[in-house]
């Protein structure tokens, strides 16, 4: 059959063949590109983790003797066990087996649970999750699911291309069947045809997809060359990537090519032969009643509208993937832009703008008491003092935070607070006899500076209260208004100690403004600033202190990134020998934040465009099959007197519905959802509207409309250019 029939069929039906080949090439390209990108993204992520945190799987922080070490090294599945001081870093051959294997080692060596640390970030990249972990990392599984969904969508593009020519093929194979072709012969013939049509496009798609991925990585490397902390992405191609993408494409071709055979198996040869003649595929399919869409189109646009509605209904299955992809694409695109706009405005107002002048460099000194930076008070030997001496440092404050509680009596509340119902009403708590108090312990010198700034007596014997509480009833969280928290009667505060007893702390003063720090204070906590000298007398009895100490540094006015980087390096150099420090600077953080946002936009945008591409590919595949699919339909319209203008109108309506539906659905979901988000974030509508992404949304919508219009124009041109009277004369021409 292959030699006799298929070769001549393929030669004489180049259009159908080209549609299938184009679909196979496009889908294979995207499949290969997606799988390669996903794999390279994974490799890059794993490499980043390895570079930043090490490539070990398990770390045992205990001194192991030689025998124990040998036991680990000889353990099945252990790749390496490297010792460095008191730390042994273990790598397993199969990272996914880490938890199971380590449990056995652990048991054998009778290790203390606190001595064993799993590299959870790295292991999660191999889909290894701790047994019983209630919230295992879901990002990678999420990406895999997204990838799988996209692969299925792309596979369906190929299937759709095959489906378009199916009707005619079913009839032809019905004829074959009626003259004695066996089901096996038909299946083999279809398979050979599919292989002949798709082998090269699929292989070509694989190569192009790989090349596309390499191109994307090169572009990302160039684009993100200045992103701090980023390493260069190197293109990798794993045989598994080829196996998955080629397997998915080949399997789809295999399955899709058998569609006519499957349809034939469910029909008698007679039904298959008749299927084309009466426009239906046997008794199973019957015309359904007109849908609401057809009726509406008919009412609005006349008979052409109704015919277009009917045509869209019959193409419903073929266009399903396109419809879903385009809708998701537009919805995703508009939602993403709205979300990023909203989030950008919000972050700007709540973070960058608010803290613009509050910090330049922040250093976190891990597991360190503030006292360690000023071991002998504010002397030249203390790190706190030395930081101030670093060139370019305009100001610095070292501080530690503690979450304590104080005894509260509503009679201490300010008259404004009492007027609102007191603390319990505003903070919505039942028991207001003990309320939270945030304590910021500052180095003495800075505290004295703060005393001068607020007009408080320059003493180290008391605390300064930030005397304000957010009036949540009269203002939004975005534009907060504050009222005084306590009566300024000078009465000492009563702090609860670790053992539930109390201690009196004198109040030096009441301030309306906090010192210049990058701190967010709790809404309903009484914030106090305390000198280190005073804290030292209390520290033994308090239990809410945090482990880390912070240093806020201001650089020169109008400092640039280079200056702040230099200050950062100096501070790190000063502290690193004695402490474990982490630092960040404002300009770099803003740049990183901007680039991350841009990167996230690009990735999500690319995903949306990819989805749109899948949808449009389906539409192009469908319209390329017009000649085969719809010649008879239009011949019938011609026979009853429809003129070319009417036919063009029909096509325009179809294209408008196909392109308009995802846009309309996308807007119908995005607009109320965005309005809800704007309202929930208590943002003024006009603030959002001033920056709303109208232009990109309009451009993307226009792009979808133009692409669909182009697909229909190409399909319609070929169909209307063909001899439409032929199908009416001769029933065998199909």
């Amino acid at each position: 059959m292959w030699k006799t029939y298929s070769i001549s069929y393929l030669r004489q039906n180049r259009t159908a063949g080209i549609s299938i080949m184009a679909a196979a090439l496009g889908a294979a390209f995207f499949l290969s590109l997606l799988c390669s990108l996903f794999y390279n993204f994974w490799v890059y992520d794993v490499e980043s983790i390895r570079q930043d945190e090490g490539s070990w799987h398990v770390r045992v922080e205990a001194s192991l003797d030689r025998e124990e070490l040998e036991l680990i090294r000889d353990f099945a599945g252990v790749e390496s066990a490297e010792v460095s001081g008191e730390v042994t870093e273990i790598c397993f051959e199969d990272a996914r087996e880490t938890y199971r294997q380590m449990a056995l080692i652990w048991e054998k060596l009778e290790l203390d649970p606190e001595e064993v640390f799993y590299h959870e970030t790295l292991l999660s990249r191999y889909l290894a999750a701790a047994p019983g972990d209630p919230s295992p990392p879901l990002l990678l599984p999420f990406f895999i699911v997204v990838l799988a969904v996209l692969c299925v969508s792309l596979a369906l593009v190929i299937r759709t291309a095959f489906e378009i020519s199916m009707q005619a093929r079913v009839r032809q194979f019905g004829i074959f069947s009626s003259i004695g072709a066996s089901p096996g012969q038909i299946r083999r013939c279809l398979l050979q045809e599919a292989a002949a049509l798709c082998a090269l496009p699929v292989l070509g798609g694989m190569v192009l997809g790989g090349a596309g991925c390499a191109g994307v990585l090169a572009a990302v490397n160039r684009f993100a060359a200045d992103v701090p902390g980023r390493h260069r992405a190197i293109f990798h191609y794993h045989p598994a990537v080829f196996a998955v993408s080629f397997g998915a494409a080949a399997l789809t071709v295999l399955v899709a090519s058998q569609i006519p055979a499957g349809r034939l198996a469910r029909q008698t040869p007679l039904e298959a032969v008749r299927g084309q003649a009466d426009g239906m595929t046997g008794r199973r399919r019957r015309w359904k009643k007109k849908g609401l869409g057809c009726t509406l189109l008919g009412l609005l646009l006349g008979i052409e509208g109704e015919l277009a509605g009917n045509a869209l209904r019959t193409q419903k299955k073929a266009l399903r993937i396109s419809r879903i992809s385009l809708t998701l694409s537009f919805l995703g695109f508009t939602s993403m832009l709205s979300f990023f706009t909203l989030s950008g405005i919000s972050t700007r107002y709540t973070y960058f703008d608010r803290y613009q002048d509050a910090w330049d460099v922040m250093v976190t000194v891990r597991d360190t008491e503030l006292e360690a930076l000023e071991p002998e008070g504010a002397t030249e030997t203390g790190a706190a003092f030395q930081i101030k001496e670093i060139p370019g440092v305009r100001d610095s404050i070292c501080y530690q935070k503690a979450e304590e509680s104080i005894a509260w009596d509503e009679s201490r509340a300010s008259k404004e607070l009492r007027a609102l119902g007191g603390y319990s009403t505003l903070a919505d708590v039942e028991d207001a006899s003990r309320i939270p108090s945030q304590v910021l312990v500052m180095d003495d010198e800075c505290f004295l500076d703060y005393c001068r700034q607020t007009g408080a007596p320059e003493e180290l014997t008391g605390t300064i209260l930030l005397n304000r509480i957010w009036d949540s009833t009269g203002s939004s969280f975005r534009q907060r208004e504050y009222i005084p928290f306590v009566e300024q009667d000078g009465a000492p505060l009563t702090l609860y100690t670790e053992d539930g007893k109390t201690v009196q702390v004198p109040v030096l003063s009441y301030a309306e403004e906090a010192p210049l720090l990058r701190e967010e204070y709790e809404d309903y906590a009484l914030v106090q600033f305390m000198p280190l000298s005073l804290w030292k007398t209390l520290a033994d009895r308090m239990d809410g202190v945090e482990n880390d100490t912070y240093i806020r540094i201001l650089g020169p006015e109008e400092a640039d990134l280079e200056t702040l980087d230099e200050i950062e390096r100096e501070v790190e150099g000063l502290l690193e020998s004695s402490f474990r420090v982490e630092s960040e600077n404002r300009i770099e953080e803003r740049l990183t934040n901007d680039q991350m946002l841009l990167g996230a936009r690009l990735i999500l945008g690319a995903l949306c465009v990819l989805l749109g591409g899948i949808g449009l590919a389906g539409i192009f595949t469908n319209t390329f099959g017009f000649l085969r699919q719809r010649q008879r339909e239009f011949a019938r319209y011609l026979s009853v007197g429809m003129d070319p203008a009417g036919m063009k109108k029909l096509f325009c309506i179809e294209a408008a519905v196909i392109a308009g539906r995802p846009i309309l659905l996308g807007l119908l979901v995005t607009v109320p959802a965005t309005a809800l988000m704007v309202s929930a974030s208590q943002m003024e509508a006009d603030v959002f509207l001033a920056e709303a992404p109208f232009l990109p949304v309009a451009v993307y919508g226009l792009f979808i409309m133009l692409a669909v219009a182009l697909a229909y124009w190409l399909g319609a041109r070929r169909l209307l250019g063909s001899d439409l009277s032929e199908p009416l004369k001769d029933d065998t021409l199909s």
Partner: protein, 226 residues
Amino acid sequence: MELLRCTGVKKVYGEGENRVEALRGIDLTLERGELVSVTGASGSGKSTLLHILGSVDRPTEGAVLVGGTDISRLDPRQAALYRRRRVGLIYQFYNLIPSLTVEKNMQMPLLLDRRKPDPDYFRRIVESLGLEEKLQALPSQLSGGQQQRVAVGRALMSRPLLLLADEPTGNLDRRNARELMDLLHLFHRNFRQTILLVTHDERLALEAERIITLEDGRIVSDRKVR
């Protein structure tokens, strides 16, 4: 010698309100070498009967024995072999493969069977059909009458036990219809071909040796004309 026997053949299409009984218990025998016409009004079930005999459709009930084999019980592969080797079908709308030449269309049943056509037999058929000049043409390059002659040739290529023709002249003009009927007579006479001809044309039906009349899915008359 009996070639075909139908016993209690029924055919029902659809379910519920759409249920249509196309055949309501057909009992029929055909002798080898007979030329039989089946006639009846539109919807009487004559084409359904022919399609069941050609194994392109299955009876809902009953048995169809051809050369001792019940073709209503064949699996798809066996049914294909039956259609390929033992029966030839001619349709009103020719049902030729548009992408194949006349020669290939005619030889298709043999090619499907991986058999080489007997050149002598093929030449005789082609000459009988008057298609010598058209062997390399495509169906779209032929007239309706020529296409139907190709369909006849294809049906005869595997020297079938039974030639089934479903309104073969229904799509032809008077002259072409006459020519086709002459051809069928010729093959019946020269090759002792058993032919079952479905037609609603009384005059054509009268050219057969035996006329079976169907009405509402039942045989209402079965008479020898000659």
